[in-house]
């Protein structure tokens, strides 16, 4: 009788453990297959009327931040760090671009004005860029090296130290002059 109980436990416990482990996993933290691959090309119509084309940035380190004004508090918390990184690095050939995901135009513009963002920002019409980059939620930040490959993907709120760490690493890779 005791043996039977042990056998049942041996059969059931691994299944329960597997289910419990699966519940702790965050789908957003699943590694992106895009890291290491060539970044998908896109052109973004900017809020200021300009245009941003990724293909034109070849040879530069590019940081793509996907955000929304309804993403509270993560997008609000990281907003000052992004502007600080832009101020610190744009003279060193680093490009930062904001991709506004599933947002209302007025709310997005209000967000940009509130945080005095001066780097290029534009709405992702039809979520085409988000799908191209396999975005699973906001915020997400992609770091693209000088050769146009996705080097890192950061899920969730990003801080200035993490931005600096990845940008510095990419600036010093592939024969960076900065």
């Amino acid at each position: 009788m005791m043996l039977k109980k042990i056998l049942i436990l041996v059969a059931v416990l691994p299944v329960l453990a597997l289910l419990a482990y699966a519940l702790t996993l965050d789908p957003r933290s699943i590694p992106s297959p895009l890291v290491g691959r060539q970044a998908g090309e896109f052109t973004l119509s900017l809020f200021d009327g300009g245009r941003f084309t990724l293909a034109e940035q070849r040879g530069k380190v590019v940081v793509i931040n996907v955000w929304s004004s309804w993403c509270i508090p993560a997008c609000y918390n990281e907003a000052p760090a992004l502007e600080a990184a832009w101020q610190r690095y744009h003279s060193r050939g680093v490009v930062l671009v904001g991709v506004n995901y599933q947002d209302r135009d007025a709310a997005a513009r209000e967000f940009l004005a509130r945080f005095r963002h001066t780097f290029p920002n534009g709405p992702d019409t039809g979520s085409k860029i988000a799908i191209e980059y396999g975005v699973r939620g906001v915020p997400e930040t992609f770091f693209i090296d000088r050769d146009g490959r996705i080097a890192y993907r950061h899920v969730g709120e990003i801080s200035l130290p993490i931005l600096v760490q990845h940008i510095e690493q990419l600036l010093h890779e592939s024969g960076g002059t900065s």
Binding site: P27, I30, S32, P33, L34, G126, I131, R136
Partner: protein, 171 residues
């Protein structure tokens, strides 16, 4: 008398009758090509979009397919599926497009290769084992209940005599 090579002189009615064949042809062209030109979709295409969308996990939902999700992203993904099918891509190519960007995680049914095969094979292995366990368990249970249905034991004689006396007193 007109020669065979001469054009025939026809009245207005005859000319109209001559062009009547064009009506159904024009109708067919309008029905078939105008909706396509206007970007409308055919029922077949929509069924194919639904079929593919039902195989993709909605990235911003909990346990919903792209086909079932009312989210904006799922809607955009369905539009993208439709566009890709209209460009001539096959279902497999469309599914691969999403798997390339989101990983195999996006596919609700894992591909039948590598370690994933365990998931596909295991149910067929476990099913007969489970069925055998249920059969053995049920047989044991039936035997046990049959054994417990033995004839009632005779009461000890003093009680039996007393019971009999009391029953007799009521008669």
């Amino acid at each position: 008398m007109r020669g065979c090579g001469e054009p025939r002189q026809r009245g207005k009615g005859a000319v109209l009758r001559g062009w009547l064949w064009a009506l159904p042809v024009t109708g067919l062209v309008v029905v078939c090509f105008v909706p396509l030109a206007l970007g409308a979709t055919t029922p077949d295409l929509e069924a194919q979009v639904r079929e593919i969308a039902s195989q993709l996990r909605c990235p911003v939902c909990q346990g919903l397919s792209v086909g079932d999700s009312p989210s904006e992203l799922a809607n955009e993904m369905r539009t993208l599926i439709r566009e890709q099918l209209q460009q001539g891509k096959t279902s497999a190519e469309v599914l691969d497009y999403f798997a390339q960007r989101y990983g195999e995680w996006i596919l609700l049914a894992p591909p039948k290769r590598g370690f994933n095969l365990v998931i596909w094979v295991l149910p067929f292995v476990l099913l007969p084992i489970g069925a055998a366990a249920v059969y053995v368990g049920a047989r044991r249970w039936v035997r046990r209940s049959a054994a417990s249905e033995s004839p009632p034991q005779r009461l000890d004689s003093p009680y039996a005599e007393r019971l009999q006396r009391e029953l007799d007193s009521y008669r």
